[in-house]
């Protein structure tokens, strides 16, 4: 364990050294994945580009705070930094929308969990990006980042039950979109 480093561990060490080639290697390994993470949160292409670049800078400048905890831990840590950057951007630019959404929550009937087996990930990301900003953010944090409503409330500065309501609405909207998608592309269902 001590003397045989994994490729991820070796890359981490080189990044700690401030090695610029290592930064490019990191980009070639993880950039597409991290861009995918950004895309779940940020709808606008130009915004995505800025958030993505800032996330990379954040990753490289804070690499000293990462501690290697097994294969995949560097990617997981980089994902957290990227999500934080996306949230920071959303807080700065979309604060008004989050506040508005907080006020117009109404109870809604629960849609069934729609089947997603036949839907490619690309299409799901496109659907997520069509969701209103606030719904999308809460849905991402709850479903993909595994945050609790309490944590989401703290992160976004909203109330806990507001997080729950927004998740509920996001899911219902998504279910409609998934049904439409399935109707068009997989008419048997």
């Amino acid at each position: 364990m001590f003397f045989s480093d994994s490729p991820e561990q070796r890359l981490h060490k080189r990044l700690l050294d401030g090695n610029k080639a290592a930064a490019r290697e990191f980009y070639s390994l993880y950039a597409d994945y991290l861009a995918g993470v950004c895309a779940r949160y940020i709808a606008d292409k130009e915004d995505l580009k800025d958030v993505f670049q800032e996330a990379l800078i954040r990753i490289f400048t804070n690499i000293g705070q990462f501690s290697y905890q097994g294969e995949g831990s560097l990617r997981a840590w980089a994902t957290r930094i990227t999500v934080n950057e996306a949230l920071k951007f959303l807080r700065a630019s979309q604060r008004r929308e989050l506040v508005r959404l907080e006020t117009d929550i109404a109870d809604e009937d629960d849609e069934d969990d729609p089947p997603i087996n036949d839907i490619p990930p690309d299409a799901i990301v496109e659907m997520l990006r069509r969701l209103p900003q606030g719904y999308r953010t809460v849905f991402n944090l709850y479903v993909f980042e595994g945050k609790s409503h309490k944590e989401i409330a703290d992160l976004l500065g909203i109330r806990e039950n507001s997080s729950a309501s927004q998740l509920h609405r996001a899911k219902n909207l998504l279910a409609k979109m998934i049904r439409e998608y399935n109707d068009i592309n997989n008419p048997r269902q």
Binding site: E54, K88, L155
Partner: protein
């Protein structure tokens, strides 16, 4: 929304990626941490300088340590004109006489004093304070503290010119011979195992601004207004733990060399807060190192040995490829349990050089640290 559906969704998107946007490498490169290059020869020179500095600081610090002890001790330093080893021999001799100790001890002590033409009170104090250690076994901590003070006194003495006229000793032959005889019986090789800890753990908090982005292509980007972001970083370093084994070889009556192998573990809790969002990490660093020391015996009798060491260590970080260089000076007290076995405590001060990484370690935040080692010594 069922947990199963969430899992399904998570699985589907687990490795989702899309072509990454182009980035400005000039901006990213500019933001990357620069590695400090510190040539090896400079390290050696600095190490030598620090050894001297650390020894000096250590002695000064310890000198101020205990006011009640300072009084008689200072008298000895200032007034005693005999070279230090002769004083030690006298005291050695005193303690070898087993008859009623109090009276016996005071007698030769007075003789020294008279021969040096100083008030008797000074050495009297010294002889009496030495006494309890010869029969009673004080706790290790007490011993270290008390002996530490005396070490200072002897050390300081050595700094005085040695070429002063030596006043005739009333009993010159006996004590010297006894001292050497005793020494020659001692083993030359010792093996030891120890645990060492720094005296304080450390917590600190820092705020800084990062991520100044230059985005010439998009000056109206709303994000640029938030170019500079606040980051708070809280670091709590636990006490470093060092365990090791080493061999000490006695070159002559006083000087010895020591080399060994040590394992060190550093644990730090790091909490990074960016705009109210916190990420906590526990950083664990492991080192294997080779400490090298030179030891000097200041004072000893049948049971006790008081010594000073100075040296350095090279530690290899096992988690990442960095080297940690350090220098250390310490004062130690050794108590013989049996002929072959003793326990010891060493109080040291160490200086740790920057390892050139961006890692936050207790060594980087507190390069100058005090440490305490406890160990067992086997005498061959």
């Amino acid at each position: 929304m069922k947990e199963e559906w969430i899992q399904q969704m998570r699985q589907k998107m687990a490795d989702y990626s899309q072509p990454a946007p182009e980035v400005s490498w000039s901006v990213i490169d500019g933001a990357m941490p620069a590695r400090t290059v510190f040539p090896l020869w400079l390290k050696s020179v600095a190490a030598a300088a620090v050894v001297i500095l650390v020894a000096g600081i250590g002695l000064k610090f310890l000198d101020r340590g205990d006011a009640t002890f300072d009084q008689p001790v200072n008298n000895v330093i200032e007034n005693e004109s005999k070279p230090v080893h002769e004083q030690v021999e006298q005291i050695e001799y005193v303690e070898h006489l087993t008859e009623p100790e109090q009276t016996r001890q005071i007698e030769p002590a007075r003789q020294i004093r008279q021969s040096a033409g100083q008030p008797a009170q000074t050495v009297f104090a010294m002889a009496v304070t030495d006494n309890p250690e010869t029969d009673a076994v004080p706790s290790t901590e007490e011993t270290t503290e008390r002996q530490t003070d005396k070490t200072t006194e002897h050390k300081a003495d050595e700094n005085q010119p040695q070429d002063r006229p030596v006043v005739a000793n009333p009993e010159p032959a006996l004590p010297t011979e006894l001292y050497h005889k005793k020494r020659s019986k001692e083993s030359r090789l010792m093996a030891m195992a120890y645990v060492s800890n720094s005296i304080n753990d450390s917590q600190h908090f820092e705020s800084y601004k990062t991520g100044i982005i230059d985005s010439p292509n998009n000056p109206n980007n709303p994000y640029t207004s938030d170019q500079i972001t606040d980051t708070n970083r809280k670091v709590h370093h636990h006490q470093p733990l060092r365990i090791g084994m080493s061999l000490r070889y006695r070159i002559d009556d006083r000087w010895s060399l020591e080399a060994g192998l040590a394992y060190t573990r550093l644990i730090s809790d790091i909490t990074l807060t960016q705009d109210g969002v916190s990420n906590s990490e526990t950083q664990s660093l492991n080192y294997i190192g080779i400490p090298l020391k030179v030891g000097y015996d200041i004072w000893s009798n049948r049971k006790f040995d008081l010594y000073a060491t100075t040296g350095g260590a090279i530690d290899r970080m096992l988690d990442y490829s960095f080297w940690q260089f350090s220098v250390n000076g310490s004062l130690g007290a050794d108590y013989k349990l049996t002929n072959g076995l003793s326990i010891y405590a060493e109080e040291g001060i160490g200086y740790y050089f920057n390892d050139g990484s961006t890692l936050s370690t207790i060594y980087k935040d507190h390069p100058l640290t005090f440490n305490l080692s406890l160990g067992l010594r086997i005498h061959f």
